[in-house]
Amino acid sequence: MPAVELDRVTKTFGEVTAVDDLSLGVPEGSVFGFIGPNGSGKTTTIRMIVNIFYPDRGQIRVLGDVMSPARNHLLGYLPEERGLYRKMHVRPLLEFFGELRGGRKVGREVAGWLARLDLAQCANRRVDTLSKGMSQRVQFIAAVVPEPKLLILDEPFTGLDPVSADVLREAILDLRRRGATVILSTHDMTVAETMCDHICMIFRGKKVLDGTLASIQDQYSNDTIRVAVGGGLAMLDDLPGVEKVRDLGQVQELRMALGCDPHQVLRALVERTRVTSFSIAKPSLHDIFVRIAGPAAEEEVGVD
């Protein structure tokens, strides 16, 4: 049974259709990546799941039942727009949010999470004295105390340093291991690729990708070559059979035209320069995202 099930859900704001006839299922116990460009309808979809917005059409079922305010206690939500009572102290603030959701005292759980996210020393500090990263970790705790069955995280890693991001990643995966279902909305394709069991992309309110990373990549075949060559990007102009070149810095990613033989590309490269690395790969999630949504096209170098 899916933890969350959307059945032909539509939401409009005036003339704008934010979510258009969207159906999807979030497998129970999975980390579900929710991706899409800005304004594609991700946040609106999440707000409907959380019961902040109501769909104009269609139905949403959460943990087997139609979502209602009475089920809010099953759900932890970290919105993209971070907000905490700035004048409150950390511990009472977290206890307030925890009690509001769980209907019981959560002092011990709060203390445990503060220690786990290296915030124990901040427990008695006012929120407005915390750094951005600390505030973000505090807000994460507010979303997971008491432990929810469904956790919805909208861009949880934004603004975090690598150490804090690792701590948070480990905490999320641990919650998943303990049975929680996690919906992770992110613009970071690496996070989606490495953390998510299942990925869904929506674009202009419609679902354009839905499945595991492997199944999504299979839809795009092995049309990608990653190379590292002497002379770098300048050596890759006008390569026969190559449609596009994406510069990743030390490595370049080439997308081949339909029916192109990768050996032909390798031969052309060897004739031009020294090739230090050459591998045929499935397209990355980033590449797939760009192919669909195309906002980063300026960064790419078009090759005939």
């Binding site: 919105p79 907000g83 004048k87 979303a143």
Partner: protein, 444 residues
């Protein structure tokens, strides 16, 4: 306890505790009575330290007979009121009247010279009495000046108020003398007849005993309704005014989306309203207990209409709910503290408008304007309470009809406010137009 009620109470407790712990609330709670009490203390202090400088008044008497009588009245007043009866120390300024004979030539030059003496503070004022003053009734068809009082004293001039009585007595004395009445009758003829304000008689329903009329304290009859309405206004303002900026601030700090994951907009608003009610009741307890202690100390407890306290609290609760839900909706529609500040005047209108019409309502508490205003729900709490505080009271049905109107208005207003609040708290960017707010209220 239902889950909904539990959440509302939990959020209300947080909002309440956070707001009553602020310096602004504590200072407001303490400063307001100090300001009012300070005013009373200031007046008392001024009475204790009066200005003892002589009040020299020149009397330019064109009748030739009034100035002497005025000087005599001033001397009597000085002897009677300007000295402490035990210590004989001077306690008030002495009136010194200086008779000035009309000078030949241009009268305006003489007036200018006297005016300059007033400007140089040699004189407090000067009085010009024309001959027509002796027969003021004959001048009705062709009005002419009878007495002129020239001064640069501003505000409430007690000297002019005092002069009115001895001047009229002097004029009447001259008239009576001209009519041949003996001077020994003057006191009897000129002493005004006082009208004592008395309460109505009643018969005790149980004992059958007649309850005599008591002399009414007119000051207390003014102070009681004024004070009660003032208290209501102050408490409602203390409870609801912070709501507008608090909601806008929370909206700017993006708190609502986090909360909306845990509670419905209606629960959020209910908690806010409940917290405002808590703030108001806290301040009302503080003020009412304080006021009662002061009145008890001043032995003025009898003038307080204590039987109206239940109505006071009913109106207080209704007004706070009405205004705080309105404030929540307005705050949700604002995107910055500046927007909220601009809309504050809209919020306080339902409480300030009735406050401004207090005097006309007290003059005619059962007049058409007072009755209509007291039955218009946004104004009912203040205006109806004011009318109820007046000695003649209101017809028994009116407070109940007014209350029914307030309840309907409160429920309807809160429902509309909740719909605006629900949409507004997630809206960012440009402040919404009025048409958009109406659409939110309509469509939710």
């Amino acid at each position: 306890m239902t889950n909904m009620l539990r959440k509302i109470l939990l959020m209300a407790r947080r909002d309440y505790l956070e707001s009553v712990r602020t310096k602004a609330f504590i200072i407001g709670l303490v400063v307001a009575p100090i300001l009012f009490g300070g005013g009373i203390f200031g007046v008392a202090l001024m009475k204790k330290k009066p200005d003892l400088r002589d009040k020299r008044i020149a009397v330019l008497d064109r009748t030739g007979v009034v100035a002497g009588l005025l000087a005599q009245a001033a001397a009597e007043k000085n002897a009677k009121e300007a000295y402490d009866k035990v210590t004989h120390a001077q306690t008030a300024a002495l009136y010194v009247l200086e008779a000035v004979a009309p000078a030949p030539g241009d009268p305006e030059e003489q007036r200018l010279a006297l005016s300059n003496r007033v400007r140089s503070r040699e004189l407090f004022a000067f009085l010009e009495i024309w001959p027509q003053a002796l027969h003021p009734g004959q001048e009705i068809k062709a009005p002419a000046r009878t007495v002129g009082y020239y001064t640069n004293a501003g505000g409430i001039d007690t000297t002019r108020n005092w002069l009115r009585d001895p001047l009229n007595r002097a004029v009447r004395s001259v008239q009576l003398a001209q009519l041949g009445v003996q001077g020994s009758h003057f006191e009897d003829l000129l002493t005004p007849v006082a009208i004592d304000p008395l309460s109505l008689l009643a018969r005790d329903a149980k004992t059958g005993a007649l309850q005599q009329a008591k002399k009414k304290d007119e000051v207390a009859e003014f102070v009681a309704p004024f004070g009660m309405v003032m208290l209501l206004t102050m408490i409602v303002m203390v409870g609801t005014a912070p709501m507008l900026s608090a909601v806008t601030e929370d909206k700017n700090q993006r708190i609502f989306e986090m909360l909306l994951g845990l509670a419905t907009p209606m629960e959020l608003m209910a908690a806010r309203v409940l917290a405002a009610l808590g703030r108001s009741l806290t301040s009302s307890a503080f003020y009412i207990v304080g006021a009662l202690l002061v009145l008890e100390g001043m032995a003025m407890m009898g003038s307080v209409p204590l039987y109206l306290l239940p109505w006071f609290f009913v109106y207080l609760v209704a007004d706070v709910i009405m205004l705080s839900s309105f404030a929540a909706a307005l705050g949700a529609a604002c995107n910055s503290p500046q927007d909220a500040q601009n809309l504050a005047v809209v919020l306080v209108a339902p409480i300030m408008i009735p406050f401004f019409v207090m005097m006309p309502v007290m003059t005619a508490p059962n007049g058409a304007m007072a009755t209509v205003m007291s039955l218009f729900p946004p104004f009912t709490p203040v205006v109806m309470l004011l009318r109820q505080c007046m000695p003649m009271g209101v017809p028994a049905w009116q407070p109940w009809v007014g209350l029914a109107g307030v309840l309907v208005w409160t429920v309807g207003g809160t429902w509309v406010a909740a719909r605006i609040f629900r949409v507004g708290i997630l809206m960012q960017g440009q402040p919404p137009k009025l048409s958009e707010i109406v659409r939110w209220a309509w469509a939710g």
